[in-house]
Each structure stands twice: as C-alpha cells, then as structure tokens.
Symmetry: C2
Subunit: 305 residues, 2 copies
C-alpha cells in the first residue's frame, strides 16, 4: 500500500513542500510513497509548485483505516483528518509543541526539533541521501525555509535553518532576496479571497481561560492591501466566530518587510487583549505591534485577556 505523506489542513508552503520532499526521499529508499494535501495550498505554496515544476499533490479529506501515513509539520489531531488515529501512522516529523492526542499502534519514528522549518529536519534525517535531491526537491526545501522564517526575519529562525537555505540557494543558483520577494508577492496577493477565507487561511484556535480565540495571521509585503479591507474584515469576524464556535477572531497582519504586526481591534475585548498581551494601547480600530512576526514564539505565548 502506498504510504501517504501529508501536513496540516489549510496547507502553507511548509505543509505543501515537506510532503513532496519526504515522499521523494521515501521513494529514493525504495518505499512506495506519495504526497497529499489536506486542502488547497495557499497562494505562496501554489507559486512554489509552479516555480519548481512540481505536480500539485492530490487533495484528500480523509484517510481510510490502516492506510500507512507519515504526518509532517503538525502533531495536532485538530489539524488532521478526523480518523487519523485509525490510520497506520508510520512516522511523525514536526517542529511544533507536543499537544497530545495522537496515538500509534506500535513504536514508530518520531522526530520533533525546535527548528524553524520541517524541511530542515527532513534534510538532516536524510543524511548522505540529501546530496541526491533533484532541483525541484531542493527548490521546495529552500522555499519552505524562506516561508517559515520570513526570509530569516522571524525569531523562530535558527542558524541551522539559515545555513541550509544558503547552501540550497547556492546549489540552485538562486538569489535569496530576489526569490523571497517573488514568494512573498505571491503570498500577498489576496485579492481572490473573501474576508472569511482570509480570516481562516492561516489560523489556529487557542483558548485563554474560558475565552476561545481563533488566532489568525496574514503575512504580507503589502499590509495596506489588507488593511484597506479592515471594516469588512471586522464585520466578517462575527460570522466566522459564530460559525467556528469561538468567542473572538484575532487578525494579526504581519508586515514582513517592516517587521511588525497590525492587530485589528473591533471591540473592547480585543482592546484589552492588546493591552494585556503586548502592553499596547489601542486608540482606534488597529494597533501596531513593533517586532511581532511569529504566532508561535511571540503571539501565543503572550496571549492574555
């Protein structure tokens, strides 16, 4: 049976590229494997697939019981098919905190490392076989690292991620600043998405005490494009919160180039979140948070009401 390799729902570049990278590696080791996606890739990930001539993996909603699977870029059952624990989980490769909830039928390979990017861990795990990566796989790995580190600006960046990206770019003859600019332009083109789609595109649910938040980020080189839509985005938050069973949507518009976030402040609850979490006084319906770029390292750990 073919081993299916996939990342989380609402796939970004790392959750699109890493399954392709690892399926290639498994195939190179004689294991029948194929990448899958748990949804449409975002605009940056779609650009990366086209740039490196990679086939878009088949999108699946669920996995049949006992299907051999490798889970990458998450260990959170909420971000995976509902029946995941009935699959035959063969390996997990991830860089997020352990949330508990996944179970395996026997001892398997699990590798979690506090690196910026799943693809970096994968190249480490390949050992000498990494030297055989074809251009498309190297391009995918470079793209995953630049995406997850926001071109080394995010505080999640490690020296190890950076060194690998620079080596890959050298092998490929790619200028990192030029290529990252193209990737971020693709990510910043959000014209095709509805307000609700934007709010759910890169979003994780997170409770603070009894209050359930949907913590959404939009990483962009063109924050003005998003902020021009702020009134309708704030209106849409009510519907999205009600539909998704949370109390409040928080939208952080991450300005990649200026290294700051703008939080939309639709009401008193979010105003108090800005104060309690970041010491920021919101005068109007937005507040700028200088230096805030990472949900994992800077937003979630500080979130308070």
């Amino acid at each position: 049976m073919t081993t299916l390799v996939f990342g989380h729902k609402s796939p970004d570049t790392d959750s699109t590229g890493s399954p392709i990278i690892w399926a290639w590696y498994l195939q190179s080791q004689g294991i029948d494997a194929a990448p899958r996606l748990l949804g449409e890739p975002n605009t940056e990930a779609a650009f990366v697939l086209e740039r490196w001539n990679l086939d878009k993996p088949e999108i699946i909603e669920d996995v049949a019981a006992d299907t051999p699977v490798v889970i990458v870029d998450t260990n959170n059952p909420a971000e995976l098919p509902g029946s995941i624990n009935d699959a035959d989980i063969r390996a997990i490769i991830d860089h997020h905190k352990l949330v508990g909830g996944l179970e395996t039928k026997g001892p398997i390979d699990i590798t979690v490392r506090p690196l910026a990017c799943t693809a970096t861990i994968m190249v480490d795990l390949m050992g000498d076989a990494a030297a055989d990566m074809p251009e498309g796989i190297k391009g995918a790995a470079l793209s995953c690292i630049l995406s997850d580190t926001l071109e080394f600006r995010s505080p999640t960046t490690t020296d190890h991620d950076r060194a690998l990206a620079e080596k890959l770019a050298g092998d490929l003859g790619v200028s990192i600043p030029d290529y990252a600019t193209e990737m971020f332009a693709a990510k910043s083109d959000v014209s095709a998405f509805s307000d609700a789609e934007l709010l759910r595109m890169d979003s994780k649910e997170y409770p603070v005490g009894d209050t359930k938040f949907r913590v959404s980020v939009l990483e962009t080189t063109s924050p003005g494009t998003v902020l021009a839509r702020k009134d309708s985005l704030m209106e849409s938050m009510k519907t999205v919160a009600a539909e998704d069973g949370v109390d409040q949507v928080l939208l952080f518009v991450i300005d990649i180039l200026n290294e700051e976030a703008t939080l939309l402040v639709p009401n008193e609850l979010v105003k108090s979140v800005a104060k309690a979490s970041f010491g920021a006084d919101a005068a109007g319906d937005t507040v700028v948070l200088p230096g805030v770029m990472s949900r994992k390292k800077q937003i979630i750990p500080n979130l308070a009401v």
Copy 2:
C-alpha cells in the same frame, strides 16, 4: 537550574542506565544535568550500577513545577510523576508507541525510534561525542541493550542494537555471553520480593474492551524459582487487582534461555485469554507459550478475551 533526566516508574536497566548516559552527555555539552530514578531499580539494574561503579541516582517521587526535565524510555504520563505536564519538558527520547497525553509548552526535541533500547537511540544522537564515552557510560549502554533484547533473543532486537552492543563489548573487553549471564542471574534473584512486589515489578496496565488487565512479565533464567511460588502468586493476584483497580493480573514468566513464556492460569478468564490471544489450551494452572519473549511485540498486540 539542573536538568533532571529520568525514565519510568519501577525502573528496569534501560530506565536506570539511560538517564545516567544522557545526563553524562548533556554535561559533556556544558549543560548542568543529573540522572534521577522514579523508584528503586530492579535487581538487574542494581547489579549493573555496581558492576560499572556508577552512583545510584537519587530517587524522586515528583518534580517541582518548571523544573527542566528530559524524559527517557517512556512517553506515557501514567508511568511518570503526576505533575509531569507542569515541568519544563526539554526533550523526550523513547522507543515505545505514542500513547498521547504528554504536552509541552513549546517545540522541543523529541526522538522516538522503533529500536529495542533507548540507549541505542542516545548513542546515535550523540554523533561524534559518543567516542568520548567513559567506561562506565559504555558499560551502562551495553547493559541496557543486553537487558532490553534479552541478549538479542527478543524479537524487538534490531541489527542496529546488536551492532552497537558488539562494538561496546569490544571496546570494554567484555564477553557478551558471560556478562549477560551475570546480568540475568541478578535479575532472576527474586527471593527478596513479596508476591505482590513480583506482580508489580515489570507491569503495564492494558485494557481489552471493558476488561482492564495488569500485564506483568518476569524475565528469568530460573523460571522454576518463580513457578515454585505459583500458588501464592495466584492468590496474591486477587489483592493486587483489587488494590490497583484492574480486573485481572496476567503473569508471564519469560524463560530467557529457552525462549518461551509460562502464563499462570488462575481462573476461566485467563484460560480464555490464553486461547483467544495465543491459541493455547491451558489444561492446568499454567500454560507454556513457545517463542513468546516480548510484551511489546508479542503479548500486547495479541491480547484478546
């Protein structure tokens, strides 16, 4: 703050030796670390400490909140202090199936591999630093592998575990058959233990449908010594089951040298377990299961009522 390294409750040789090995490695990397035990080591582990002149680690019952810890040889909260999720879990190194339940505050190092022994994974993780292991640490690693593989007889044994053990034995100038015989003799000396202690010494709770079992194994080169006590062991099962809130204790006496298990059959329930799990017809109050050596690979996956 000192990072505490520990394995599971009721420490066997791997859960005694692996914390010592990893604390040594962390110290060699400039990290303040110390091994701990979550209970008295078993007789084999105590022999190993003495043989290699290793200090017996301090026994702890609990860890204070925010203590930095590394968990080895388990990922099961039931085998760890009750407050484990309040500790600052820095890393997990294990070779058991993922049971879910552990949570971490951020992304950490997690390495689980389907190898026979935690110590084997640790030596891999050390990379070049493994060459600096002093005699006592090499002795501990060799002992962990011989213990967990029952001198390569257990079906959990991999070529990788065996190759490492042979290399370590060569470095140390130790004959594996002679040393394993000494270790197993130490493990087989159960004269100091009460029946209840024997039933709980190497035991994991496991439910089958609505029936909760305590699945106990006793690995020994002298099965006759244990089986001579079978009447009082079967009597004690009732008390242990009642005290521990399970329906039935199963005791498998593993004959290391003859590579077989003897299951005690105190009642009709266990008789039906022998039939449903292993196709074995128990005529009297014991039944021999040829080739059965591993709870992880052979007993738990087949357990049925």
